[in-house]
Protein backbone atom coordinates (compact mmCIF):
# COMPACT_ATOMS: atom_id res chain seq x y z
CA UNK A 1 0.00 0.00 0.00
CA UNK A 2 1.46 3.37 -1.07
CA UNK A 3 2.20 5.87 1.65
CA UNK A 4 0.12 9.00 1.34
CA UNK A 5 1.81 12.35 1.89
CA UNK A 6 0.37 14.03 4.98
CA UNK A 7 2.58 17.12 5.13
CA UNK A 8 0.32 20.08 4.45
CA UNK A 9 1.50 23.66 4.25
CA UNK A 10 -0.56 26.58 5.47
CA UNK A 11 -0.83 29.48 3.10
CA UNK A 12 0.42 32.32 5.26
CA UNK A 13 0.50 35.08 2.64
CA UNK A 14 -2.80 36.70 3.58
CA UNK A 15 -2.01 36.36 7.29
CA UNK A 16 1.32 38.16 6.87
CA UNK A 17 -0.36 40.83 4.73
CA UNK A 18 -2.96 41.44 7.42
CA UNK A 19 -0.37 41.53 10.18
CA UNK A 20 1.83 43.97 8.27
CA UNK A 21 -1.08 46.33 7.61
CA UNK A 22 -2.19 46.15 11.22
CA UNK A 23 1.31 46.82 12.54
CA UNK A 24 1.80 49.82 10.25
CA UNK A 25 -1.59 51.26 11.30
CA UNK A 26 -0.96 50.73 15.01
CA UNK A 27 2.56 52.13 14.84
CA UNK A 28 1.32 55.25 13.06
CA UNK A 29 -1.49 55.85 15.53
CA UNK A 30 0.49 54.98 18.66
CA UNK A 31 1.03 57.74 21.21
CA UNK A 32 4.69 57.62 22.04
CA UNK A 33 4.89 60.70 24.23
CA UNK A 34 3.40 59.64 27.51
CA UNK A 35 2.11 62.67 29.35
CA UNK A 36 2.49 62.92 33.07
CA UNK A 37 0.53 64.71 35.74
CA UNK A 38 0.76 66.20 39.20
CA UNK A 39 -2.43 65.57 41.14
CA UNK A 40 -4.31 67.45 43.78
CA UNK A 41 -7.50 66.45 45.50
CA UNK A 42 -9.11 69.64 46.69
CA UNK A 43 -12.00 67.82 48.36
CA UNK A 44 -9.74 66.41 51.10
CA UNK A 45 -7.88 69.66 51.60
CA UNK A 46 -11.01 71.78 51.78
CA UNK A 47 -12.65 69.38 54.22
CA UNK A 48 -9.60 69.16 56.49
CA UNK A 49 -9.03 72.92 56.41
CA UNK A 50 -12.59 73.99 57.10
CA UNK A 51 -13.53 71.52 59.82
CA UNK A 52 -12.63 72.24 63.42
CA UNK A 53 -10.40 69.63 65.05
CA UNK A 54 -11.99 67.45 67.74
CA UNK A 55 -11.56 68.86 71.26
CA UNK A 56 -9.25 66.08 72.43
CA UNK A 57 -7.02 66.36 69.37
CA UNK A 58 -4.16 68.83 69.23
CA UNK A 59 -4.46 71.48 66.57
CA UNK A 60 -2.55 70.67 63.40
CA UNK A 61 0.22 73.03 62.42
CA UNK A 62 -0.66 74.80 59.19
CA UNK A 63 2.11 74.40 56.62
CA UNK A 64 1.76 76.87 53.77
CA UNK A 65 3.83 77.87 50.77
CA UNK A 66 3.03 81.10 48.96
CA UNK A 67 4.58 81.96 45.61
CA UNK A 68 5.01 85.63 44.68
CA UNK A 69 6.55 87.02 41.49
CA UNK A 70 9.72 88.09 43.35
CA UNK A 71 9.88 85.76 46.35
CA UNK A 72 8.52 82.68 48.01
CA UNK A 73 7.20 82.47 51.55
CA UNK A 74 6.98 79.35 53.70
CA UNK A 75 4.88 79.64 56.81
CA UNK A 76 4.42 77.30 59.75
CA UNK A 77 1.37 78.78 61.46
CA UNK A 78 2.53 82.33 62.23
CA UNK A 79 6.22 81.66 61.72
CA UNK A 80 7.09 83.03 58.30
CA UNK A 81 10.24 82.58 56.25
CA UNK A 82 10.72 84.50 53.02
CA UNK A 83 13.22 83.72 50.26
CA UNK A 84 13.69 86.20 47.41
CA UNK A 85 14.20 84.85 43.91
CA UNK A 86 17.79 84.42 42.78
CA UNK A 87 18.40 85.70 39.25
CA UNK A 88 14.68 85.66 38.54
CA UNK A 89 14.46 82.00 39.54
CA UNK A 90 12.90 80.44 42.62
CA UNK A 91 15.52 79.61 45.25
CA UNK A 92 14.86 75.87 45.33
CA UNK A 93 17.71 74.99 47.69
CA UNK A 94 16.27 77.18 50.46
CA UNK A 95 12.77 75.75 49.96
CA UNK A 96 14.08 72.19 50.08
CA UNK A 97 16.00 72.86 53.31
CA UNK A 98 12.83 74.21 54.97
CA UNK A 99 10.73 71.30 53.70
CA UNK A 100 13.30 68.82 55.02
CA UNK A 101 13.19 70.59 58.38
CA UNK A 102 9.38 70.33 58.41
CA UNK A 103 9.55 66.68 57.44
CA UNK A 104 11.94 65.98 60.32
CA UNK A 105 9.70 67.70 62.83
CA UNK A 106 6.37 66.52 61.37
CA UNK A 107 7.16 63.11 59.84
CA UNK A 108 3.50 62.09 59.57
CA UNK A 109 2.42 65.18 57.68
CA UNK A 110 1.97 64.78 53.93
CA UNK A 111 -0.39 67.70 53.34
CA UNK A 112 0.61 71.23 52.55
CA UNK A 113 -1.21 74.26 51.15
CA UNK A 114 0.05 76.06 48.08
CA UNK A 115 -0.98 79.69 47.57
CA UNK A 116 -0.04 81.63 44.48
CA UNK A 117 -0.08 85.23 43.45
CA UNK A 118 -2.34 85.84 40.44
CA UNK A 119 0.44 87.35 38.37
CA UNK A 120 2.92 84.47 38.42
CA UNK A 121 3.16 82.16 35.41
CA UNK A 122 1.69 78.67 35.60
CA UNK A 123 5.23 77.29 35.22
CA UNK A 124 6.23 78.69 38.64
CA UNK A 125 3.22 77.10 40.32
CA UNK A 126 4.02 73.69 38.85
CA UNK A 127 7.72 74.09 39.72
CA UNK A 128 6.89 74.63 43.41
CA UNK A 129 4.21 71.90 43.28
CA UNK A 130 6.86 69.51 41.93
CA UNK A 131 9.32 70.44 44.69
CA UNK A 132 6.66 69.80 47.35
CA UNK A 133 5.76 66.38 45.91
CA UNK A 134 9.44 65.51 45.55
CA UNK A 135 10.06 66.32 49.22
CA UNK A 136 7.41 63.95 50.55
CA UNK A 137 4.47 66.33 50.69
CA UNK A 138 2.30 64.65 48.04
CA UNK A 139 -1.04 66.00 49.28
CA UNK A 140 -0.76 69.49 47.92
CA UNK A 141 -3.85 71.63 48.34
CA UNK A 142 -4.22 74.53 45.96
CA UNK A 143 -5.79 77.76 47.08
CA UNK A 144 -7.88 79.13 44.22
CA UNK A 145 -8.57 82.53 45.80
Amino acid sequence: MAKKKVNQELNLTSYIDLMSTLIIFLLMTAAWNQMEALSTNTANVTASDSSEPPPNETKKVSLTVTVFPDRIELSEDQKLRSFPNVGGQIDTSQIISVLMDWKTRFPDRTDITLNTDNQIPYKSMIEVFDILVGNKFPDVGLNTL
Partner: protein, 192 residues
Amino acid sequence: MSKTKGSAHRLVKTPGYHIRSRYDLHGLRERKAGGSHREYDIELPLTSMIDMFSILVIFLLINFSSTGDVFFVDKDMKLPLARHAHPMGNNPLLSITRDTVIFDAQPVADNPLHLEEVDQNMPKLRAILQRIKRTEQQVRPGQPFKGEINVQADEGTPVVYVKRALATLISEGWTGIHFATAPPKDAAEPEK
Protein backbone atom coordinates in the same frame (compact mmCIF):
# COMPACT_ATOMS: atom_id res chain seq x y z
CA MET B 1 21.86 36.34 -45.91
CA SER B 2 23.62 37.26 -49.15
CA LYS B 3 27.14 36.15 -49.72
CA THR B 4 29.89 38.42 -50.90
CA LYS B 5 30.80 37.84 -54.46
CA GLY B 6 33.67 35.42 -54.85
CA SER B 7 33.68 34.44 -51.27
CA ALA B 8 32.71 31.04 -49.96
CA HIS B 9 32.71 32.03 -46.31
CA ARG B 10 30.24 34.09 -44.34
CA LEU B 11 31.71 37.39 -43.30
CA VAL B 12 29.26 38.01 -40.52
CA LYS B 13 28.84 35.19 -38.04
CA THR B 14 26.32 34.81 -35.30
CA PRO B 15 28.22 35.67 -32.10
CA GLY B 16 28.46 32.81 -29.69
CA TYR B 17 29.23 32.69 -26.03
CA HIS B 18 32.30 34.84 -25.85
CA ILE B 19 33.42 34.78 -22.24
CA ARG B 20 36.58 32.96 -21.99
CA SER B 21 36.38 29.66 -20.27
CA ARG B 22 38.67 30.80 -17.53
CA TYR B 23 35.94 33.13 -16.16
CA ASP B 24 32.95 31.15 -17.25
CA LEU B 25 30.33 30.22 -14.66
CA HIS B 26 29.30 26.91 -16.11
CA GLY B 27 26.89 25.98 -13.42
CA LEU B 28 24.97 29.25 -13.54
CA ARG B 29 24.82 29.28 -17.32
CA GLU B 30 23.49 25.79 -17.41
CA ARG B 31 20.92 26.52 -14.73
CA LYS B 32 19.71 29.64 -16.58
CA ALA B 33 19.43 27.74 -19.76
CA GLY B 34 17.41 25.10 -18.03
CA GLY B 35 20.06 22.51 -18.55
CA SER B 36 19.76 21.17 -15.06
CA HIS B 37 16.59 19.42 -14.06
CA ARG B 38 17.20 19.52 -10.32
CA GLU B 39 14.35 20.90 -8.25
CA TYR B 40 15.06 23.91 -6.10
CA ASP B 41 12.28 23.95 -3.53
CA ILE B 42 13.41 26.73 -1.18
CA GLU B 43 11.23 27.62 1.81
CA LEU B 44 11.59 30.72 3.95
CA PRO B 45 11.39 29.95 7.68
CA LEU B 46 8.51 32.27 8.67
CA THR B 47 7.88 30.98 12.19
CA SER B 48 9.99 33.54 14.03
CA MET B 49 8.66 36.38 11.89
CA ILE B 50 5.04 35.43 12.63
CA ASP B 51 5.87 35.13 16.33
CA MET B 52 7.38 38.61 16.30
CA PHE B 53 4.42 40.03 14.35
CA SER B 54 1.93 38.51 16.76
CA ILE B 55 3.70 39.87 19.86
CA LEU B 56 4.02 43.30 18.27
CA VAL B 57 0.35 43.38 17.27
CA ILE B 58 -0.79 42.32 20.76
CA PHE B 59 1.44 44.95 22.40
CA LEU B 60 0.24 47.71 20.08
CA LEU B 61 -3.41 46.69 20.44
CA ILE B 62 -3.13 46.83 24.24
CA ASN B 63 -1.63 50.30 24.09
CA PHE B 64 -4.01 51.53 21.40
CA SER B 65 -6.32 54.34 22.35
CA SER B 66 -9.17 55.26 20.06
CA THR B 67 -9.62 58.57 21.88
CA GLY B 68 -6.61 60.77 21.36
CA ASP B 69 -7.97 63.65 23.43
CA VAL B 70 -5.74 63.00 26.38
CA PHE B 71 -2.66 63.29 24.25
CA PHE B 72 -3.83 66.33 22.34
CA VAL B 73 -1.41 69.18 22.92
CA ASP B 74 -1.86 72.39 20.98
CA LYS B 75 1.18 73.34 18.94
CA ASP B 76 1.40 76.68 20.74
CA MET B 77 1.18 75.07 24.15
CA LYS B 78 4.33 74.27 26.06
CA LEU B 79 3.73 72.14 29.13
CA PRO B 80 5.70 72.87 32.31
CA LEU B 81 8.32 70.34 33.35
CA ALA B 82 8.02 68.20 36.45
CA ARG B 83 10.24 65.43 37.80
CA HIS B 84 7.89 63.84 40.30
CA ALA B 85 4.76 63.44 38.19
CA HIS B 86 2.97 60.16 37.53
CA PRO B 87 1.44 58.86 34.28
CA MET B 88 -1.72 60.72 33.38
CA GLY B 89 -5.01 58.85 33.44
CA ASN B 90 -7.76 58.89 30.85
CA ASN B 91 -10.03 61.69 32.07
CA PRO B 92 -11.75 64.64 30.41
CA LEU B 93 -9.26 67.27 29.35
CA LEU B 94 -9.43 70.98 30.10
CA SER B 95 -6.94 73.09 28.15
CA ILE B 96 -6.17 76.64 29.27
CA THR B 97 -4.26 79.03 27.07
CA ARG B 98 -3.65 82.74 27.39
CA ASP B 99 -6.71 83.42 25.19
CA THR B 100 -9.20 80.66 25.71
CA VAL B 101 -10.40 77.67 27.74
CA ILE B 102 -11.14 74.45 25.87
CA PHE B 103 -12.95 71.42 27.26
CA ASP B 104 -12.34 68.27 25.19
CA ALA B 105 -11.62 70.29 22.01
CA GLN B 106 -14.69 72.48 22.54
CA PRO B 107 -14.12 76.17 23.45
CA VAL B 108 -16.00 76.96 26.65
CA ALA B 109 -14.72 80.37 27.72
CA ASP B 110 -12.43 83.24 26.78
CA ASN B 111 -9.67 84.62 28.92
CA PRO B 112 -9.98 88.41 28.93
CA LEU B 113 -6.91 90.49 28.17
CA HIS B 114 -6.88 92.37 31.44
CA LEU B 115 -6.67 90.28 34.56
CA GLU B 116 -8.84 92.74 36.46
CA GLU B 117 -11.75 91.90 34.18
CA VAL B 118 -11.61 88.21 34.92
CA ASP B 119 -15.05 86.91 35.60
CA GLN B 120 -15.13 83.88 37.85
CA ASN B 121 -18.31 82.64 36.24
CA MET B 122 -17.83 80.25 33.31
CA PRO B 123 -21.41 79.23 32.42
CA LYS B 124 -20.60 77.10 29.38
CA LEU B 125 -17.98 75.07 31.23
CA ARG B 126 -20.24 74.80 34.25
CA ALA B 127 -23.09 73.42 32.08
CA ILE B 128 -20.84 70.79 30.47
CA LEU B 129 -19.44 69.71 33.83
CA GLN B 130 -22.95 69.37 35.26
CA ARG B 131 -24.09 67.33 32.24
CA ILE B 132 -21.15 64.92 32.48
CA LYS B 133 -21.62 64.59 36.22
CA ARG B 134 -25.33 63.78 35.74
CA THR B 135 -24.51 61.17 33.11
CA GLU B 136 -21.85 59.63 35.36
CA GLN B 137 -24.29 59.39 38.24
CA GLN B 138 -26.94 57.82 36.01
CA VAL B 139 -24.47 55.24 34.68
CA ARG B 140 -23.12 54.38 38.15
CA PRO B 141 -25.96 55.02 40.61
CA GLY B 142 -25.03 54.79 44.28
CA GLN B 143 -21.33 55.25 43.66
CA PRO B 144 -19.61 58.46 44.74
CA PHE B 145 -18.71 60.83 41.93
CA LYS B 146 -14.91 60.82 41.49
CA GLY B 147 -14.79 64.05 39.49
CA GLU B 148 -11.37 63.48 37.98
CA ILE B 149 -10.17 65.80 35.26
CA ASN B 150 -6.90 66.53 33.48
CA VAL B 151 -5.92 70.17 33.21
CA GLN B 152 -3.27 71.33 30.80
CA ALA B 153 -2.04 74.88 30.40
CA ASP B 154 0.79 76.66 28.67
CA GLU B 155 3.67 77.28 31.06
CA GLY B 156 3.45 81.05 30.48
CA THR B 157 -0.27 81.30 31.25
CA PRO B 158 -0.91 83.59 34.24
CA VAL B 159 -2.06 81.51 37.18
CA VAL B 160 -5.18 83.62 37.57
CA TYR B 161 -6.68 81.95 34.47
CA VAL B 162 -5.90 78.50 35.86
CA LYS B 163 -7.32 79.41 39.27
CA ARG B 164 -10.50 80.70 37.66
CA ALA B 165 -11.03 77.36 35.91
CA LEU B 166 -10.15 75.44 39.08
CA ALA B 167 -12.70 77.41 41.09
CA THR B 168 -15.39 76.41 38.59
CA LEU B 169 -14.30 72.76 38.64
CA ILE B 170 -14.26 72.56 42.44
CA SER B 171 -17.61 74.28 42.81
CA GLU B 172 -19.12 71.65 40.49
CA GLY B 173 -17.59 68.77 42.45
CA TRP B 174 -14.67 68.01 40.14
CA THR B 175 -12.03 67.79 42.84
CA GLY B 176 -9.63 65.21 41.43
CA ILE B 177 -7.51 67.56 39.36
CA HIS B 178 -4.46 66.35 37.47
CA PHE B 179 -2.09 68.97 36.01
CA ALA B 180 -0.48 67.78 32.81
CA THR B 181 3.29 68.12 32.78
CA ALA B 182 6.15 67.04 30.59
CA PRO B 183 9.17 65.12 31.86
CA PRO B 184 12.47 67.02 31.75
CA LYS B 185 15.00 65.90 29.15
CA ASP B 186 17.35 64.51 31.78
CA ALA B 187 14.53 62.93 33.80
CA ALA B 188 15.56 60.02 35.97
CA GLU B 189 13.25 57.53 37.60
CA PRO B 190 11.15 59.35 40.19
CA GLU B 191 11.92 58.55 43.80
CA LYS B 192 9.50 56.18 45.48
